[in-house]
Symmetry: C2
């Protein structure tokens, strides 16, 4: 391959992290800028370009970049557009592929952040060699990237894999960011865990170190710390969360019969606190023909590199833009 590097960009609501990655998945160098700094998307792209080029020059990579891969919220692989950017400071739709490829002059491919993580995991992580797996990202929200027969599932419109938005509670479910109620994301995300804490603290009367924290300030990290220290109520929150995740994964299994689920993101690092009830619940709720067949794994990618690595893997398959009519901004 004449051009030995790709650039991976992880465009988050707060930070945009970017790095130069080689074909073996080594992040040669990385840096970041603040996503929220510019109210005009063009200024953001300008800064992204100048900072990326600085990294490229400093690492002797000028003329050696094969393509750019970007993971961004609600980014559509097919259209190259961020169609409804929930956490971004600019009006949508954003023709991201067009903007970035015009600025950088090299091929660009985009997908949503969970899909990027799945591609990264398949290329460099715990899913190497797996042709059928589902990546579940447990962060602020719950995202997913579904791989079937070695291919990422985009669906007919590019938006497949929104597994955080299956309905787990059809009556009196929690309000979800998507506007509906009872979604998996409203329970099993980091914010969902914090909501569970508030519900448990109100509904129960037993002692808990979580009662020392102002209710509205409780985070999933607080719950984790309390559970690790032996707090019963905090442990029950993880039990509740793992149990529901197991129910959800059992349902997902009947869809695509994956060989494994790969958990990724902050909550996925909770260890047995989450994994034990999750695996018990998965086994208990699994349809018998799938019992014992499906592994639950935790991402092997280094947290700092994972998103950039995943996005970068897309860079290898990025194609130059041809005949794309720019949409109205």
């Amino acid at each position: 391959m004449s051009k030995p590097y790709v650039i991976g960009i992880d465009m988050g609501g707060t930070n945009t992290v970017f790095g130069i990655v080689d074909a073996r998945g080594v992040v040669i160098a990385s840096a970041s800028i603040k996503t929220q700094k510019h109210s005009d998307i063009n200024n953001y792209i300008d800064e992204l370009y100048s900072e990326t080029m600085r990294l490229v020059e400093a690492n002797d990579a000028v003329g050696k970049i094969h393509g750019i891969g970007i993971g961004a919220p609600n980014a559509n692989y097919y259209t190259g557009i961020i169609e409804d950017g929930v956490n971004l400071p600019w009006p949508t739709p954003i023709p991201l592929v067009q903007l970035v490829s015009e600025k950088f002059g090299i091929p660009v491919a985009i997908t949503n952040d969970a899909n990027a993580a799945a591609i990264g995991e398949m290329t460099y992580g715990a899913a190497r060699g797996l042709k059928d797996f589902i990546m579940i990202t447990l962060g602020t929200g719950v995202g997913s990237g579904i791989v079937i027969n070695g291919q990422l599932v985009y669906g007919h419109d590019g938006f497949a894999g929104e597994l955080g938005h299956v309905i787990m509670k059809r009556n009196n479910g929690r309000l979800c960011g998507c506007g509906r109620t009872g979604c998996l994301e409203a329970y099993c995300s980091a914010t969902g865990v914090a909501r569970t804490a508030r519900e448990f603290l109100e509904a129960r009367t037993d002692a808990s170190t979580l009662r020392e924290i102002p209710t509205e300030d409780i985070t999933s990290k607080d719950v984790y710390d309390a559970a690790i220290a032996g707090d019963r109520l905090a442990k029950d929150i993880f039990e509740f969360t793992g149990n529901m995740l197991g129910e959800a994964l059992a349902d997902f299994t009947v869809f695509s019969s994956p060989e494994a689920f790969i958990l990724f993101g902050g909550l996925a690092k909770s260890g047995d606190l989450l994994l034990k009830p999750l695996r018990n619940s998965l086994d208990k709720n699994m349809m018998s023909i799938f019992k014992g067949k499906v592994k639950v794994l935790v991402s092997e990618l280094k947290e700092a590199d994972a998103a950039v690595l995943g996005a970068s893997a897309l860079g290898w398959e990025a194609k130059p833009m041809v005949n794309i009519v720019p949409p109205q901004l």
Copy 2:
């Protein structure tokens, strides 16, 4: 193509229907035998062979059969085996591809009945030209065949697409044939509709022509006839069924973002009685990014031909068996 025909076999719990099909999807001739007649699988295969050969000879098709495709309950495309035949009179696993290809001397491919229907629909029916769709079969049970990017989803073990077994009711759900409770199939199959009738009749006190039928004898056909005749309780049963199906299809959409759902089987012919509440519920429960994008279609295949046609389409891709070690019967 030197051999212009395939044989399609639909192996049901009661009847086995088989037909000779040409490349345009015309069923040249078909016939059937009783699946339950033989307690020894080898005698069943013998009769299937002699009856099929009679059809082949009568239609001048000797030496013109490219391959055989079989749709059968729990048939595994990968292994060629019926691994857990719920409604069949023989011990499982059944090495069906081996038995049939040894007897007939031509290539055989098998898949489960719902997958066969999906392949038939994609090849000859309402899904022609669609690359992403989900076939939902509403018969004695609820089955599904999922097509993503033009390919049937088999999953890592060949058992993907058991959408009748997602859990729709997590508390006090009905017992399902799979041994768990609350499955979609326990509510939205033909038998599910009959169960709903019994529940509604017991819970309600209003008049209904369904009260004239002994409770245990009520079928989904009785409910349909009563609803068509204007019976309020019967209409409410379809409303309940369509509503739950809409909830389920909304959940399936976030998985693979299909362009369409294709409904197939007895209940799918209930027209607006089922489709109206189903479409309303689908729209109401759909995540906003998918709203208005997903069609609900009814199979275009002739009922009598559909299963055979679907199975036959597999016959074109059947490969001769090579080096397959016969499993223990």
